[in-house]
C-alpha cells in the first residue's frame, strides 16, 4: 500500500518539475511550488500597500538621500558634492541651534500634553454629565487644520490688536519676544494635542478591568494609591504609544511654526522641520536640506529605539 501510494506522487510532481531528476527534487518541487504560489498570492495581497509604501515612502526617502549628495538650487544644474553637505550642516551653528530649539520644544510640549491629556482622561472617565460633549470639544483642535489654527492664534497673539493683549489690558509681544515666542508656539501645540492624547488614555482606562481597583479599595487603598499603583502601571502601553508618537510628531512640528512665527524672532522658534523648509524653499539649497532631513531621520530612529527599550523592561501588555 505505501509503495503504491507513493508512486504516483513523484510522477505528478516530476511532470510539474519538468521531468528532470525525479525523486528528491521532485518532492521538494511539490512543496516549493505551493510555497511559491503562496508567496505570490501573499505579495499580490500586499501589492496595493507595497506600491504605496514603495512609491510614496521608500522611493522618496531614497531620492532625499541621493539629493543630499548634490548641490542643487532647482534652477541651475545639480552638481555632485559627495558628503560635503553633511560636513557643512554638522559644523553650521544654525543647524545646531535648530536642534536645540527642537529639543527645548519637545521638552516643553511632551510632559505638559501628556499630563494634561491624562488628567482630562481621568476626569472624563468619571462619566459626569456632559462628558461626551467635553470629549468631542477637546478633540476639535486636533481635527482642525494646523495651518488655520496657527493663523487664528497669530491674530489672537497680535501685539496691538490681538484678543489676548486686549483681555490683559497690557502689551505683551508674544511672538516677537525672544523669550516668549517658543513657549507661545508650544502652548498652542499642547492645546491642539491634549484632546488627542486624552482619547488614547480614555481607551486605555476602558481596558483596565474594574476588579483591580475594587480589590485595592477593599484592601484599603485610597484614590491616590490606586492611581499610582494600579492605574498608571496598567496604562504603560498607552503611555508608551502616546509618548512615542508625541515625541516624533513634536520633532517634526512645522505648520504651527510656519503659520505663527516663520522661525522668528532671529531663529528662536526655528525648529528642525522649519529649518529644512527654509533651507529648501527659501534659500533653495536642496542638498543641505536633504542632508538635514537624513540627520533628523537618524535622530528620530535613535530616540524611538531608546524609548522602546526603556518601556519594554517596564511594560505589561497582559491584563487578563
Amino acid at each position: 500500500m505505501p509503495s503504491a501510494d507513493a508512486a504516483p506522487a513523484p510522477a505528478r510532481a516530476s511532470r510539474r518539475a519538468g521531468g528532470r531528476r525525479p525523486r528528491a527534487s521532485a518532492r521538494s518541487g511539490t512543496v516549493g511550488g505551493s510555497r511559491r504560489a503562496d508567496t505570490l498570492a501573499g505579495y499580490a495581497f500586499l501589492a496595493p500597500s507595497l506600491v504605496g509604501v514603495g512609491g510614496f515612502l521608500l522611493l522618496p526617502v531614497g531620492i532625499v538621500a541621493g539629493i543630499s549628495l548634490f548641490r542643487w538650487d532647482l534652477v541651475s544644474p545639480a552638481r555632485w558634492t559627495g558628503p560635503s553637505n553633511y560636513q557643512s550642516i554638522l559644523t553650521d551653528p544654525a543647524f545646531g541651534r535648530s536642534l536645540a530649539v527642537t529639543a527645548f520644544f519637545v521638552l516643553l510640549v511632551i510632559p505638559l500634553q501628556t499630563a494634561l491629556g491624562l488628567a482630562a482622561a481621568l476626569l472624563l472617565d468619571q462619566r459626569l454629565p456632559g462628558s461626551t460633549w467635553f470629549r468631542a470639544i477637546l478633540v476639535l483642535p486636533w481635527i482642525s487644520a494646523p495651518l488655520a489654527l496657527g493663523v487664528v492664534w497669530r491674530w489672537l497673539f497680535d501685539p496691538s490688536d490681538g484678543a489676548i493683549n486686549q483681555l490683559l489690558g497690557h502689551r505683551v509681544e508674544w511672538l516677537t519676544s525672544p523669550t516668549l515666542a517658543l513657549p507661545s508656539v508650544a502652548a498652542v501645540t499642547v492645546w491642539t494635542n491634549v484632546g488627542y492624547v486624552a482619547l488614547f488614555f480614555l481607551a486605555g482606562l476602558a481596558g483596565i478591568p474594574p476588579q483591580y481597583a475594587e480589590a485595592a479599595r477593599i484592601d484599603g487603598a485610597g484614590p491616590w494609591q490606586r492611581l499610582r499603583r494600579i492605574t498608571l502601571p496598567l496604562l504603560r502601553p498607552t503611555t508608551f504609544f502616546v509618548l512615542a508618537t508625541g515625541v516624533i510628531s513634536s520633532f517634526q512640528v512645522f505648520d504651527t511654526v510656519y503659520a505663527m512665527t516663520r522661525g522668528g524672532p532671529a531663529g528662536r522658534t526655528e525648529v528642525v522641520a522649519y529649518a529644512i523648509y527654509r533651507e529648501a524653499f527659501v534659500d533653495f539649497r536642496m542638498g543641505r536640506a536633504a542632508a538635514m532631513s537624513v540627520v533628523l531621520f537618524l535622530l528620530l530612529i535613535t530616540v524611538t529605539i531608546a524609548q522602546q527599550s526603556w518601556f519594554r523592561r517596564r511594560t505589561t501588555y497582559e491584563m487578563g
Binding site: P159, G264, P265, A266, D283
Partner: protein, 422 residues
C-alpha cells in the same frame, strides 16, 4: 515632514493640472502667471481681446499670491510645470536668465527705457516691460488737509519731518509724542509707516541721504556712514520718536501699515502705485499723493519694474511669443492703464492711466516726478534674492531695537554676501 510632503505633492499636482496644452475648443492654451490679483483683472480683459483676434490661442491666467510666488516658481521650473509666461521682478529674474530658462525677447516695443535697462543682461533683453513703480507719499486729507512738502536731516537735532510726525501722532488721551504722559502703547493715530520695507522706506531714505546699498552685485551698506545714519533715522522714528507702529506689528505682517492707513489710523503712508487700488477700495476718507520727504541728498526714490518673461521650456513657442508680443503692445496694456491698475510699461499707454486717476481726484504727478528725478537702483544680480532672504531676519532685529544699527548692518551684509556666493 509628512505634512510638508503632502503640501509639496499638492503643489506639484496643482501645477500638473496646468500643463495640458489644449482646451475644449481645440485651441492652444498659453498659461500666464502673476502675483497681483488686481492687475489680473486687467489681463483678463486684455486676453479676451487677444483671443478674438487669435481664435486658435487661448490664454489662461493664474494668480499665485506674492507670499508663495518665489517659493513655487523654482519648484515648478524644476518640475517642468512652470507657466509659459510669468511675471518677474529684478531680484529674481537673473538666476533664470543665466541658466537658460528664459526665451530672450527678440522684438522691440515702445517701452519705458528704465525698465528695459533693468531686464537687459549679457546684451540681451529677457523680459517685456509690464508696469513700473516709483515711491511717493500718500496722505489722509482728514488728518493732513494740504499736500505736505517735508524735509528731513538726520544730522540736525530736529527737522520738519520729525516735528510734523509728532504733531500727527496721537494717543487715546489726545497726547502727542514728546508731551508728558504720552503712552506709545495706546497710539490711536500714527504719523508715518517707518518699517522694515526695503522698497518703499529703507532704500528711499538711504538714497535721499546719499547712501549706497550695492556695489555691482555685492552688498555694500555696512560702514557706509550715510547709509548707517539713514537707517538709524528710520529706526528712531519707530523706537525713539514713537511716530510709527512698532516693528513687532509690521515685521511679520507686511500689510499692517496699509491697513492702518486705510482705517484712518495713519496720517502719512510712503509707498508705490501698487497700493492705489487697495487704498481706493478700502479708504473711507479723501486722500492724495505728495512728493517724498526731501533729504540731504534730495528726493531719491526706488524705481522698479515688473516684466513678463517666457519660459524656454514652453511647448508652444510660437503661440507664447504671440501672447508676449500682445502684452508688450499699447493695445495689450490698455486695460491695465484704463482700469487704473498700474503705470503701464508701454509709454504711449501711460497718459490713459494718469487720466483715470485724475478723474478720481488723485494727481499722480509725484510718482512721475519721483521716477523722472534721481532714482535709487533696484536690487540687481543673479543671486540677490538669496542675499535678501539671508539678511532679512537680521534687519528685522535691528528694527525691533534688539540689535544696534551699525552692528546689525554689518552682520546683515556679511550674511547677505555669504548667501549670494551660493
Amino acid at each position: 515632514m509628512r505634512r510638508l510632503f503632502l503640501i509639496l505633492a499638492a503643489l506639484l499636482l496643482a501645477a500638473g493640472c496646468s500643463i495640458a496644452g489644449g482646451d475644449a475648443k481645440g485651441r492652444t492654451t498659453v498659461t500666464f502667471r502673476l502675483w497681483d490679483e488686481q492687475v489680473a483683472k486687467a489681463y483678463q480683459q486684455s486676453f479676451a481681446a487677444f483671443e478674438k483676434a487669435h481664435p486658435d490661442i487661448g490664454v489662461q491666467v493664474q494668480v499665485v499670491p506674492w507670499a508663495d510666488y518665489w517659493t513655487k516658481l523654482p519648484a515648478d521650473v524644476a518640475a517642468g510645470t512652470a507657466a509659459d509666461i510669468f511675471w518677474t521682478n529684478t531680484s529674481n529674474f537673473g538666476l533664470y536668465a543665466d541658466n537658460g530658462q528664459l526665451l530672450p525677447v527678440e522684438f522691440t516695443g515702445d517701452w519705458t527705457t528704465s525698465v528695459v535697462d533693468l531686464y537687459t543682461r549679457n546684451g540681451k533683453l529677457w523680459g517685456v516691460p509690464q508696469l513700473w513703480d516709483s515711491i511717493a507719499l500718500y496722505y489722509n486729507k482728514d488728518l493732513v488737509p494740504d499736500p505736505p512738502t517735508l524735509t528731513w536731516d538726520p544730522a540736525a537735532p530736529d527737522d520738519a519731518l520729525r516735528a510734523t510726525l509728532r504733531k500727527l501722532t496721537v494717543d487715546s488721551a489726545g497726547r502727542h509724542p514728546g508731551q508728558s504722559g504720552f503712552d506709545p502703547q495706546k497710539t490711536r493715530v500714527y504719523g508715518f509707516n517707518a518699517a522694515f520695507d526695503l522698497q518703499a522706506i529703507l532704500w528711499d531714505f538711504v538714497g535721499s541721504n546719499g547712501g549706497t546699498w550695492q556695489s555691482g552685485d555685492t552688498f555694500d551698506f555696512a560702514d557706509r556712514p550715510k547709509t548707517v545714519q539713514a537707517v538709524q533715522y528710520v529706526v528712531d522714528l519707530i523706537n525713539a520718536e514713537h511716530v510709527a507702529p512698532p516693528a513687532a506689528d509690521t515685521n511679520t505682517n507686511g500689510d499692517k501699515a496699509l491697513q492702518l492707513f486705510t482705517q484712518g489710523r495713519m496720517a502719512l503712508f510712503q509707498s508705490g502705485p501698487y497700493h492705489l487700488k487697495s487704498i481706493q477700495e478700502a479708504a473711507g476718507f479723501q486722500w492724495g499723493v505728495a512728493p517724498l520727504p526731501n533729504g540731504p541728498a534730495g528726493r531719491v526714490g526706488v524705481v522698479h519694474g515688473v516684466a513678463a518673461v517666457a519660459s524656454a521650456k514652453t511647448r508652444h513657442r510660437d503661440a507664447t511669443v504671440e501672447v508676449l508680443k500682445w502684452i508688450g503692445s499699447a493695445d495689450g496694456q490698455r486695460p491695465i492703464a484704463e482700469g487704473g491698475y498700474a503705470f503701464p510699461g508701454v509709454t504711449t499707454a501711460q497718459p490713459v492711466f494718469v487720466d483715470y486717476w485724475k478723474k478720481q481726484g488723485v494727481d499722480l504727478q509725484p510718482f512721475l516726478d519721483s521716477a523722472g528725478g534721481t532714482t535709487f537702483p533696484a536690487p540687481l544680480g543673479p543671486r540677490v534674492g538669496a542675499g535678501q532672504t539671508a539678511y532679512t531676519p537680521i534687519l528685522q532685529q535691528v528694527f525691533l531695537g534688539r540689535l544696534g544699527v551699525a552692528e546689525g548692518l554689518r552682520k546683515a551684509q556679511d550674511a547677505g554676501n555669504e548667501a549670494m556666493k551660493g
